[in-house]
């Protein structure tokens, strides 16, 4: 039994008329998408603008040249401490992760590789506060730990563990993306495999590896929670002593001084925030330059 349906209403040109509800829904959809975009850009601008508005009017260049004194003074020792920790992380964590990435991309196979890969993938999901806590318990604490006390080495080790997954993944991905023709050409020319790896493959993968290292720098500069109980805090210019001597770092004053009653402490908190923002911006800009450079030099 055939069901009879009314033919849809048509406009003057014979096209079916689009119901108003569908038009309205579509309009609402685009308005919602626009609002969503504003909800991303708005907070980003507000965050950066608010920080600049609070920090710049009180900015004094002496912040860069004097040490913190209680809750006032400058941030020289914190800047040096952050740079020292970051450098240590690049040396320790960077070496381990690049070796790991090379091994995973070039040598490891089968179940071996799956196991090692899931090792760093799970590690990347562990909250940094948990890593900081375990670092405190194992390295710093005198109750059942190594008893190193607060210092440079515990901080570098904990942050290295935090950033290892990022550099490893970046290195591995970059190596796997080197075109097979490069290796084939090198092999055809009679180059030994290890020489191919060092002079051809790693060179082609360099921008990817550098991007991974930059992510690591941004994380080491911006971490707070895992450093509080491994680096400690100090008003004195850091030395290269590895353990037993607490070391200042830039995120500490932001967290510790922001709600103190002394207005000078709050200003110092914003100053540290401004310096952190500048450091992160520098890292992002270098990252963009590396990507642009590698695009221009690919082929």
């Amino acid at each position: 039994m055939a069901q009879t349906t009314r033919p849809p209403a048509t406009d003057a040109a014979g096209w079916p008329v689009i119901p108003a509800s569908r038009k309205v829904a579509n309009l609402l959809y685009w308005i919602a998408c626009g609002a969503a975009l504003l909800l991303i850009i708005g907070p980003a601008l507000w965050l950066v603008g608010g920080l600049l508005a609070h920090a710049l009017p009180h900015w004094q260049w002496s912040v860069l040249t004097t040490n913190t004194n209680g809750e006032t003074g400058g941030l020289k020792q914190a800047i040096l401490g952050t740079l020292l920790i970051t450098l240590g992380v690049l040396v320790l964590g960077g070496t381990i992760s690049i070796l790991a990435g090379v091994y995973l991309a070039e040598f490891a196979t089968g179940r071996h590789r799956t196991l090692m890969r899931s090792g760093y993938e799970i590690l990347s999901g562990i909250p940094s506060i948990v890593l900081g806590l375990v670092g405190y318990m194992v390295l710093v604490s005198v109750n059942g730990g190594a008893g190193w006390k607060y210092g440079l080495l515990p901080a570098v080790i904990v942050v290295s563990v935090i950033i290892t997954p990022y550099i490893t993944k970046a290195t591995e991905t970059a190596l796997l993306q080197v075109p097979a023709s490069y290796r084939e050409a090198a092999e055809a020319l009679g180059m030994s495999p290890s020489r191919t790896l060092f002079t051809i493959v790693l060179k082609a993968a360099l921008p990817g590896i550098v991007t991974g290292l930059l992510v690591a720098v941004a994380i080491s500069v911006g971490e707070t929670a895992p450093l509080l109980y491994t680096a400690g805090w100090s008003d004195f210019t850091p030395s290269l002593q590895l353990t037993g001597q607490p070391i200042g770092f830039l995120t500490y004053p932001v967290f510790a001084f922001f709600n103190l009653p002394d207005p000078k402490a709050q200003i110092l908190s914003y100053d540290a925030g401004l310096l952190l923002l500048v450091l992160v911006l520098v890292v992002i800009i270098i990252g963009r330059l590396v990507v642009a450079w590698s695009r221009r030099h690919a082929e």
Binding site: R22, N26, W30, A32, A36, L37, L39, I40, A44, W46, V48, G50, L51, H54, L99, A100, Y103, L104, F107, T109, M116, G119, Y120, I122, L123, S124, I126, P127, S128, I129, Y136, M137, S141, T164, Y166, T168, A170, T173, Q177, A180, R183, E184, E187, P193, L197, G212, L214, V215, A218, V221, G222, A225, L228, F255, Y270, G273, V280, L281, I284, G287
Partner: protein, 348 residues
């Protein structure tokens, strides 16, 4: 789906590298050591946490996850003995408010971040000109790169107080008056609390979900979308029925990654949650605490009291179980669906 980037010739090159085991020997050994470290650290971490939390487990037992009272006891009192354990007088560990706080702040963050990220991603891919899209990309990169302590500073001194004065009262006086939504009414506090924590977390989760969603939507082939348009679908219907269906599992993976980040975020939440230890907030705006915030705010007490340290290890174990479950799901989903260059959990 796109084939892996490098498949042709991969086998031959790999085998030739392996054959030259002698020349690449030291690198191979060092690489093996390096690649084993994350797994070993992981195992050591779990063992250490379990071993260290044993005193707290035998002291508090399951009451730890069901009780709501948390007290470090008489910190300067003389340690006492009970059940064969040394601890401070009147110590009590009930982490239920923290566990609920962790879950609630993450839920608020996702409720806001998911629609915002997906909507923005659709607009970026389908409507924005290339140049503008790259500017928005720079904003996402900036938001992802800003240290969480700065987002906490913004939430604590700028956004939180302003919202508590001008925005939260609007919600409390409208939706809060509707029967059944009483938790949204009442005092809006000073801007330190549950909703502010959720909002701050949303700002931190958005770059993760939005940039992944954008990359995934950009990868949707044009043919099925053209087909949808040819059938007379509107943009909205095409997005709902074709584009988003195409990338659904990938976006779900990104959401779970974002959830992992929100659950474990420490310092920003510690700055805006109001640090109300051992009590649940009375409404959406009340002071509260999360697991991570308790650890970072109160670990100092553990310097003098080993039982406190053990309680924090137990707490970390609970947090780890919650985040590991979400992350295993995420890894399984994301690995199958997309190959982003970097772990989307964090970073530039």
């Amino acid at each position: 789906m796109a084939p892996p980037v490098m498949s042709r010739g991969e086998g031959t090159v790999r085998s030739s590298l392996r054959r030259a085991g002698r020349s690449a020997g030291p690198l191979r050994v060092l690489g093996f050591i390096g690649a084993s470290i994350p797994g070993l650290v992981l195992i050591a971490l779990l063992v250490e946490l379990v071993v260290k939390s044993i005193p707290a487990i035998s002291y508090s037992g399951l009451h730890f996850v069901t009780g709501s009272a948390w007290s470090f006891g008489a910190e300067y009192g003389a340690p006492v003995q009970s059940q064969g354990l040394t601890h401070m007088p009147d110590e009590q560990f009930g982490a239920l408010p923290e566990i609920l706080g962790t879950l609630a702040t993450s839920a608020i963050a996702l409720l806001i971040a998911v629609p915002v990220s997906i909507g923005a991603a659709l607009l970026i891919v389908e409507r924005l000109p290339r140049r503008l899209a790259s500017v928005v990309g720079a904003f996402l990169e900036l938001l992802a790169g800003v240290p969480s302590v700065l987002i906490g500073l913004w939430g604590a001194l700028t956004m939180g107080p302003l919202f508590a004065r001008h925005v939260y009262p609007l919600i409390a006086d409208s939706i809060g008056k509707v029967p059944g939504f009483g938790a949204l009414g009442g005092s809006t506090g000073n801007g330190q609390g549950l909703l502010t924590s959720g909002l701050v977390l949303a700002v931190m989760v958005i770059p993760i979900i939005a940039s992944t969603a954008r990359d995934l939507i950009r990868g949707v082939p044009v043919l099925p979308r053209e087909g949808a348009v040819a059938l007379g679908m509107s943009d909205f219907e095409c997005a709902r029925k074709v584009t988003l269906r195409w990338v659904a599992s990938g976006i779900f993976g990104a959401i779970v990654l974002g959830l992992g980040r929100a659950l474990g975020e420490t310092i920003a939440v510690a700055m805006v949650c109001g640090v109300a230890l051992g009590s649940l907030p009375t409404n959406l705006y009340g002071a509260m605490i999360t697991i991570a915030a308790n650890i970072v705010q109160n670990l100092e007490t553990a310097i003098t009291d080993p039982m406190d340290l053990s309680a924090f290890a137990y707490l970390a174990l609970v947090l780890l179980v919650i985040t590991l479950v979400t992350n295993v799901i995420a890894t399984l989903l994301v690995r199958r669906v997309s190959g982003t260059a970097l772990p989307a959990g964090r970073g530039l």
